[in-house]
């Protein structure tokens, strides 16, 4: 079988992509400069940062699953996932504003404004958590996560792209060994602890043992939506013709459906435990999200992140309908943003949902950087692993 090389060589103007990235960085810098002293900026920045980072973490998980199980059906789409991984170096740089704004974000730091009116030493729960939640250890952990993620991204991406040129199938064995090694365990640990560090510790009195898997479920769902959207977009532009077919989209639709249910299961389980036990320091987290317009957001999450995708994607026909799938993937990404906002923002705005200039600026800035960077990375290598012996089977993949 001969593939038309035009369909798997993504071409985009390098200058456009760099302009997009610089525009994004400029927008974020301006917002940072304007809001250097304002809590509002750092919370908005953290929301957008985690939204886009979670897509990359989801990609990392999917790549691990693909290589560890030597999956066949996903060979045709694996390069799109690997391209997503390579955004990690940029996101490592983009973490610095969060470090700069730590005192504004995290209540467990003694310099936080909350302790101007409260006694830090008398807060027994915070004192108890200090061995884990202190500035030094927090930064060490952040360094550890980002080093791990960078190592994973660089190793997988460069091993896989090298395979395109030298056709040495040892690359696949190397990748399989890499993904089946304890690094996979470290990846999960890092996703869990990143969720605990950057989102859960915003409210240090509160804790939930479901939080790590909640972060993972949200991240993977967001990545699946991003992947589906990207592939449909690529197909609309004429790429991957005769490579990615309705059958692959059917499988992605199944994934989206399954992880919509999984997310609901995890989020629901977290809620039921807390609701049932009824301990004040646990229920306070949900109570904060049940006042004013946060109540509307909570209900929107239940309906929009579970019921709408569930009933839209349950039918076979809708998983094979690219327009519907495209709409649902945008919808799921939108709901994921609402979800992150629902996690982060009530710490700042107790009275209700706000969507201000900093939210818009940081969201647009990150989107520009992400899309510019992603388009640039996609244009650097073929869109499919050309020398993978399973590629032909993946192209001919069929659902039964």
């Amino acid at each position: 079988m001969k593939l038309d090389s035009k369909t798997y060589h993504y071409s985009s103007k390098k200058s456009t992509n760099f302009i997009l990235m610089f525009a994004g960085i400029a927008l974020l810098s301006i917002a940072w400069f304007a809001g250097f002293e304002s809590k509002e900026f750092y919370f908005s920045y953290l929301t957008s940062f985690f939204f886009w980072l979670s897509i990359i973490l989801g990609a990392m998980f999917f790549t691990f699953v693909h290589y560890a199980f030597s999956a066949t059906w996903s060979v045709a789409i694996i390069r799109v996932m690997e391209n997503t991984l390579m955004l990690i170096p940029i996101f490592t740089m983009l973490f610095f504003p969060i470090i700069a704004g730590m005192e504004m974000l995290f209540k467990w730091l003694p310099d936080h404004s909350y302790w101007l009116t409260h006694s830090f030493e008398a807060d027994h729960l915070i004192q108890h958590k200090l061995p884990f939640l202190n500035k030094q250890f927090f930064l060490q952990r952040a360094v550890a996560y980002f080093s791990l993620w960078n190592v994973i991204a660089f190793y997988i991406y460069f091993t896989s792209t090298k395979h395109d040129t030298d056709a040495n199938h040892n690359a696949l064995i190397k990748l399989k060994n890499f993904t089946m090694s304890p690094i996979g365990v470290l990846l999960f640990t890092s996703i869990t602890f990143a969720g605990l560090d950057w989102l859960m510790s915003l409210d240090p009195h509160w804790y939930s043992t479901m939080y790590g898997v909640y972060t993972f479920a949200g991240s993977f769902l967001a990545f699946l939506a991003f992947l589906t959207f990207t592939l449909i977009r690529l197909k609309d532009q004429g790429y991957l013709k005769d490579i990615v077919s309705e059958e692959h989209f059917h499988d992605l639709g199944k994934y989206l459906f399954a992880f919509t249910v999984f997310y609901c299961y995890i989020a629901g389980a977290q809620f039921y435990f807390i609701w049932y036990t009824n301990i004040p320091e646990e229920t306070i987290w949900y109570l904060h999200r049940w006042v004013g317009s946060w109540k509307t957001i909570s209900i929107l999450l239940i309906v929009g992140k579970f019921f709408i995708p569930f009933f839209a994607l349950i039918f076979r026909g809708s998983k094979r309908n690219l327009r519907l799938l495209q709409f649902m993937s945008i919808w799921i990404l939108f709901m994921h943003y609402i979800d992150i906002n629902f996690i982060v923002m009530p710490t700042l705005h107790h009275d209700g949902f706000h969507f201000g200039i900093y939210d818009i600026a940081s969201m647009l800035g990150f989107a520009a950087i992400f899309i510019g960077g992603f388009r640039y990375i996609m244009s650097r290598s073929p869109l499919v692993p050309l020398n993978d012996p399973e590629l032909i089977h993946s192209i001919n993949h069929r659902n039964h």
């Binding site: 039921y272 609701w275 049932y276 009824n278 349950i314 076979r316």
Partner: protein, 177 residues
């Protein structure tokens, strides 16, 4: 002696798939294929429609969920209201688990009994067993059977047709009495 249909043997799974396509294209409706194991692509070759079972399961699941929720609402807030750790009588978050369980239970019933209904199970005898050679179908033979209920059925024509498409051991199914 009653006649029930005609069977023909094929040697390979691939030959069976091609035979099924030809039988379908010749316009037969009441025919079936028999093989020792499932064959990918057989549904398409025989022109079978997608199973309606999913809709049965979906409807049963929804019924189960509504039943579970309704049952608990009726018990806890109408028939026997009881104060459990100060929670409201209509404590709908607590109902989610039983609602889910009953949804799963009803869907499983729908799946099992729906499958049995669509496959006409239980069924203790079938005319193909009047053929002695047919028992080979559980080890190494692949059979096509065309039943007498088919509107296009004509014994001689069917026999020559099956022979033409490569069938061997062609046999007319007849009972003993």
């Amino acid at each position: 002696m009653n006649t029930y249909g005609v069977i023909a043997r094929f040697d390979t799974p691939l030959a069976l798939v091609h035979a099924a396509e030809k039988v379908k294209d010749a316009g037969f409706k009441d025919f079936d294929c028999h093989s020792p194991f499932p064959i990918h692509g057989m549904d398409d070759a025989m022109g079978l429609k997608r199973s309606k079972l999913g809709y049965v399961i979906g409807a049963m699941g929804l019924t189960g969920a509504l039943f579970g929720f309704g049952l608990q609402t009726w018990i806890h807030s109408i028939e026997y209201p009881m104060n459990i750790s100060g929670k409201p009588f209509f404590a709908y978050p607590a109902y989610a688990i039983i609602t889910f369980e009953l949804m799963v239970l009803f869907s499983a019933f729908g799946a099992v009994f729906g499958m049995m209904y669509f496959n006409s199970i239980p069924r203790f005898h079938h005319p193909v067993f009047y053929s002695d050679k047919f028992s080979r179908v559980t080890s190494d033979a692949f059979y096509v059977s065309i039943e007498i209920s088919d509107p296009k059925y004509n014994e001689e024509e069917v026999k020559s047709f099956l022979e033409k498409i490569g069938g061997t051991d062609i046999e007319v199914l007849k009972d003993e009495n």
